[in-house]
């Protein structure tokens, strides 16, 4: 029986004698990690932040990417009412079935008589796929680079109501001009402004 020979690959890594001596490269690696440690420790003990992470629920990042789709918003008409016509397309397409809409009739508004009295999203189940945004014929629901106020200890607290979804910061949406004043008072402010 032939002794076992390891297969030679075409991209076999070649090491110089320096690397094969091992000890020097070990020292170099330890110097790198130790240097990072000293740098970060120096920042911490001079009361600066020495880490890249954020304390998530207390602290949200200000530098979300522009295409980040972290949270839903409902767009508004110039008078502050929701653009949504309660057609239920988003709720139908939603693979996680987290959107619940209750439609109502508004005789005063001849152009958009059907509107949502309830529009709720369960963030404990939402998978952030964005299909609701694609399905919407009225550009009434969008996703913005923000974070919903997760996590929470109670599942029931992870439902976001229509008012909370409407109460986004309109300045962020460059496409629409901002309404003069939101007519719907929000129960709580969603995330950072």
């Amino acid at each position: 029986m032939k002794p076992y020979a390891r297969k030679q690959y075409w991209n076999e890594p070649t090491m110089s004698w320096w690397e094969r001596a091992y000890l020097f490269e070990i020292v170099r690696g330890l110097a790198i990690t130790g240097g990072v440690f000293m740098r970060n420790m120096g920042r911490w003990i001079t009361f600066r932040k020495g880490a890249l992470t954020t304390y998530y629920p207390e602290e949200t990042r200000a530098d979300y990417a522009r295409h980040n789709r972290g949270k839903h918003i409902l767009t508004q008409r110039p008078d502050g009412r929701p653009q949504c016509i309660a057609c239920n397309l988003c709720a139908t397409v939603c693979p996680a079935r987290v959107i619940e809409i209750e439609a109502a009739f508004d005789p005063d508004d001849a152009l958009h008589p059907k509107y949502p009295v309830r529009f709720e999203i369960d963030y404990s189940r939402c998978i952030f796929c964005g299909l609701c945004v694609e399905a919407c014929p009225e550009d009434a629901i969008r996703m913005v680079p923000d974070a919903p106020g997760l996590p929470d200890a109670e599942r029931d607290h992870m439902w976001w109501s229509r008012d909370e979804l409407l109460h986004w910061n309109p300045q962020r949406d460059a496409a629409k001009h901002s309404p003069s004043a939101p007519t719907v008072a929000a129960a709580r402010s969603p995330g950072a402004p």
Binding site: L23, I26, G29, L30, I32, T33, G34, V36, F37, N40, M41, W44, G50, A51, L52, T53, Y55
Partner: protein, 381 residues
């Protein structure tokens, strides 16, 4: 009676130091790893002051406490097919020798109670002119005792792997056995060089011998006398402790938890605790053998002797406190370096591990011993 009191104080101090190091090092390991990799580290466990909303977080120090409580309260699951006696015995066989090693390590210089309590005449008179080196067991065979107890932990790991009737455990135990025996040999060989130079295995004498000066300016520490031995010793000690990059006996990705796969709750906690205490023990051994023990550079039991020949006398109480603090600081530094190694280097492959031991470190240790012996022989003639 006086001896009993002093020894009891020493034992209390040593046990307290070891247990505190064991718990604090878990925190240090978490935090240092986090800081090394640009993270924050565990900081969610807190203690709430009763009847208030004040939560004490203290940089996540209480995570160790939470771990301990979790270990205590978990179900002590035992597999059905196991050797009951050996299974119950194994964690203690691993844990106890680790604690006992500290008995022979000197954590301070000579303690003279009559000088220390000079302001309280009755206490000073009671102690008379007795003097105590700060070390629990004043045995001449200090280093040999260290290696004897180090050998005992191998039995514990083998027992644990064998008795839990699990293939992963058995594989882990086999790996632990061959690895620890290989690296203990290298540890012994590297220390032989020091024994040749200092002519003793008494750790206190070795520590005292390192308070001099070398070539007129260097402190006569073991690192400067035996630099190769220091590196080899630390490497072999980390391998002995079965930590990354030598953690093959408990490699998670291959063997689940190795020889303690079948252990749960506090039994498993004992294995972990023993590992963390052994970090401190290795730090203490390395500090004693290679970093001048409890002394600052150019420091003796009487005061400082600077290279220029100038001497400063320091009061006895200040000397004792400095020696205790310096020893703890050195232990902490070496422990921190071990944690740095653990979070920097990747794990060896099994054949690489044994080849590294027998074909790289073993000849180096032998060569180091040979050169040391020849130099010492030439100097003594």
């Amino acid at each position: 009676m006086q001896d009993l009191v002093v020894t009891a104080v020493f034992v209390g101090y040593a046990v307290a130091v070891l247990l505190v190091f064991g718990t604090v090092l878990t925190w240090v390991e978490r935090k240092q790893a986090a800081i090394m990799s640009d993270r924050i580290g565990a900081n969610r466990a807190y203690v709430r002051i009763p009847f208030t909303q004040v939560k004490l977080i203290w940089l996540g120090l209480f995570h160790g406490l939470a771990d301990g409580i979790k270990m205590m309260l978990k179900e002590d699951f035992r597999p059905n097919s196991y050797d009951r006696f050996a299974y119950a015995l194994a964690p203690w066989v691993v844990f106890t020798p680790v604690l006992l090693v500290f008995a022979v390590i000197p954590f301070g210089g000579m303690l003279v109670p009559s000088t220390l309590f000079a302001s309280i005449p009755s206490v000073a008179a009671w102690f008379g002119d007795r003097m105590y080196p700060m070390q629990i067991a004043r045995v001449d065979a200090g280093l040999l005792v260290v290696f004897a107890f180090g050998g005992l932990t191998i039995i514990g790991t083998m027992l644990a792997g064998w008795s839990s009737a699990n293939k992963f455990s058995l594989l882990g135990a086999l790996r632990a056995g061959s690895q620890m025996i290989s690296y203990e040999l290298i540890m012994g060989l590297t220390v032989l060089g020091l024994i040749v130079i200092y002519g003793t295995v008494d750790l206190n004498a070795i520590a005292r011998a390192q308070s001099g000066v070398l070539l007129g300016f260097l402190p006569a520490w073991g690192v400067f006398v035996q630099p190769f031995a220091a590196i080899l010793f630390l490497t072999a000690a980390i391998a002995e402790n079965k930590r990354i990059p030598f953690d093959l006996p408990e490699a998670e990705s291959e063997l689940i938890a190795g020889y303690y796969t079948e252990y749960s709750a506090m039994k498993m906690g004992l294995f972990m605790f023993a590992e963390f205490i052994e970090i401190a023990i290795i730090g203490a051994l390395f500090a004693t053998l290679f970093l001048g023990g409890y002394n600052l550079p150019f420091m003796t039991d009487a005061g400082f002797v600077l290279p220029g020949g100038r001497e400063f006398a320091v009061p006895h109480g200040a000397i004792v406190v400095t020696q205790l603090a310096v020893f703890l600081a050195k232990v902490m530094l070496v422990s921190s370096f071990q944690i740095l190694v653990r979070w920097s280097l990747p794990r060896f492959r099994w054949d690489q591990l044994l080849r590294f031991a027998w074909k790289f470190m073993f000849p180096l240790a032998l060569a180091n011993l040979l050169v040391t012996a020849v130099v010492v022989w030439t100097l003594q003639r």
